[in-house]
Symmetry: C2
Subunit: 282 residues, 2 copies
C-alpha cells in the first residue's frame, strides 16, 4: 500500500491516518471530506492532502470509508469507475449487512472487505483523533467470503490493523449485526429510554441531586448523537427489534418477580456477564 484515501476524515478516519503514521506507514495519505473537516485533518497531521473523491480514489491502493453509514452507502456506487484494479476498499461503518450488500452490487473492479473498529469517543472530528484510538481495541472484519482475507491488498491491510495495535476479529456480516444489536445498539436504546423515563417522571430537576454514580453510568450513552444512531437503527432494524423484545421480556420478568428473593437469579446472571466483560476487555 503506497497511497491511502481516507473518505470521511473525522474522528475515526483521522485517527486511522494518525495511527498509520505512528505505526510507520511512509506512503501518502489523502483525505476526502468537507473543506472544514479537511482543514481539521490537515492541522492534526492525519492526512497529507485533501482532494475530491474523483481525484483521490484513482491514486489509492487502499480506500478507507469512515463516513456515517448513509454517506458510505452513497459513496460506494460512485467508486467503481474510479478504482485502481487490485485496490482494496474497506469501511468502518457500525453495521455491516447493508454496506456489504451495497458493495457486492456496486464494486466490481476492486475488492471490498467490510470492517468495524470497536473504538470511538464522545468527541467528533479529526482534531479529537488519536493515533492510539485503536490500541487494544477489537477490529471486526466481515469478509463476504474467506478468500477476501487473502488477497495481497487484504493481507497488507490486516498487517496494518495489527500494527496500529488492534485485535482482528472475524465475523460474517449477519453475525456482526446481530452481535452489535446486543452489545451496542440495545445498550444505547436502554440508556436513552432510561434517561427519558427518569426525565418524564421526576417531579423536580433538583431531585437529581438524590442520585449517585449508577444513574450517571447507565445514562452516559444517552448523550449520543441521534444523527449517528438513526443510520445504525435504520440498517439493523430486525436484530435491534429482536434484542429490544428480549429486553422488554426480561424486564417484565423482573417486574413479576418483584420484590422477591427470586430476583437472585437475574442478579447472578447479570453479574456473571459483567465479570466476563471485565475479563475480556483490554
Amino acid at each position: 500500500v503506497d497511497t491511502v484515501a481516507i473518505v470521511g476524515a473525522g474522528l475515526i478516519g483521522g485517527s486511522f491516518g494518525l495511527a498509520l503514521r505512528k505505526a510507520g506507514f511512509s506512503g501518502r495519505i489523502l483525505g476526502v471530506s468537507s473543506d472544514a473537516a479537511l482543514r481539521e485533518a490537515l492541522a492534526a497531521g492525519a492526512i497529507d492532502e485533501g482532494l475530491p473523491l474523483e481525484q483521490a480514489v484513482p491514486q489509492a491502493d487502499l480506500v478507507y470509508l469512515s463516513q456515517t453509514i448513509s454517506r458510505i452507502l452513497e459513496t460506494i456506487p460512485r467508486l467503481d469507475a474510479l478504482l485502481r484494479p487490485g485496490a482494496l476498499v474497506t469501511d468502518a461503518g457500525s453495521t455491516k449487512l447493508a454496506i456489504m450488500e451495497c458493495a457486492g452490487r456496486h464494486i466490481t473492479r476492486a475488492r471490498f472487505l467490510g470492517g468495524h473498529p470497536m473504538a470511538g469517543s464522545e468527541h467528533r472530528g479529526a482534531s479529537a483523533g488519536s493515533p492510539l484510538l485503536f490500541q487494544d481495541r477489537t477490529y471486526v472484519l466481515t469478509p463476504a467470503s474467506p478468500e477476501e482475507l487473502d488477497t495481497p491488498a487484504a493481507r497488507e491491510f490486516r498487517k496494518w490493523i495489527w500494527k496500529i495495535g488492534a485485535a482482528e476479529m472475524l465475523l460474517t456480516p449477519d453475525q456482526h449485526d446481530r452481535i452489535v444489536a446486543l452489545t451496542s445498539h440495545l445498550p444505547q436504546l436502554a440508556s436513552t429510554a432510561l434517561a427519558a423515563t427518569v426525565a418524564a417522571r421526576l417531579e423536580s430537576e433538583d431531585h437529581l441531586r438524590a442520585s449517585g454514580l449508577g444513574l450517571a453510568d447507565t445514562t452516559r450513552l444517552a448523550l449520543s448523537s441521534f444523527d449517528v444512531w438513526q443510520d445504525i437503527l435504520a440498517t439493523n432494524r430486525q436484530a435491534v427489534g429482536d434484542a429490544l423484545d428480549a429486553y422488554i421480556r426480561a424486564l417484565e420478568g423482573v417486574r413479576e418477580r418483584l420484590p422477591g428473593p427470586n430476583l437472585v437469579e437475574d442478579f447472578r446472571r447479570g453479574a456473571e456477564l459483567r465479570r466476563k466483560l471485565a475479563g475480556r476487555q483490554p
Copy 2:
C-alpha cells in the same frame, strides 16, 4: 455530641467515623458490629472501641445505624430501652419509609432522624472506607416532621454533615423513596436485566470482544450484590414497580418507533436529562 455509636461498622459506618475524625470530632467513637468488622474498623482507625449494642448505645449521644436495611429494622426495636434521653438516632438506609415507620413505632425515649448519604463504592468493609466518602455528595435527611431538624442533637448532627463535606437535602420519606426508585433502583434493575439479556442471547462468550465502553457502562451496576438489593426492593416495592412499568412502556414506545426518525424525540429527552445530571453532580 461527645460519644457516637456506629452500629454497622462497614463501608458507610467506617467512613462516617473516619470523616468525623478528619472534620475535628474529638469525642469517642464506639462501634457495634461483628467481631471481624470491628477488627477491620479498629485497624482502619474508624472507631475507638468495639462494644455490644447494650453497652454502646447507653453511652451515645448519637446512634448511627449503618447496617443493611433488614438489620436496621431488627436493631430499632432493641434500642428504646438502651437510649439516653436527648440522644439522636439516625440511619443511612437506602429506603426510608419502612425504617421511619419502624422508628415511629419503637423509639419513644429519644429522637429519630432518617438519613441517606448518596455515597458508596463497589467495595465493602471499613478497610475500604474513606474520610472523603461523603465529600461533595448529597446527604438526604427525611424528618418525620420539620421540628425533628431543630432539636439540639439534630442541629449538631447536621453541623457534622456539613463539616464532612456533604450537602444536605431535605425530603419526606415518601418523596425520597419515589425519587430513588427512579434515580437508583430503576437503573439497577435496568442494568441487571440488560446484562442478563445479553448473556442469554449471545451465542458465544467470545462475541463480547465485539463490544465497546457502552456495554461496560450500562452494565456496571449489574455487579451489585443481591444481598443489599433484596432489602431495598422489598422495602420500596410500589415505587420500584411503578418505575419499572414506566420504563417498560418507554421501551415499547421505542420499539414501535423503530427504526424511525421519530426516535429523535427520545434521544433529545434522554440527552437533556443526562446533561442536567452532569451539571448537577459534583
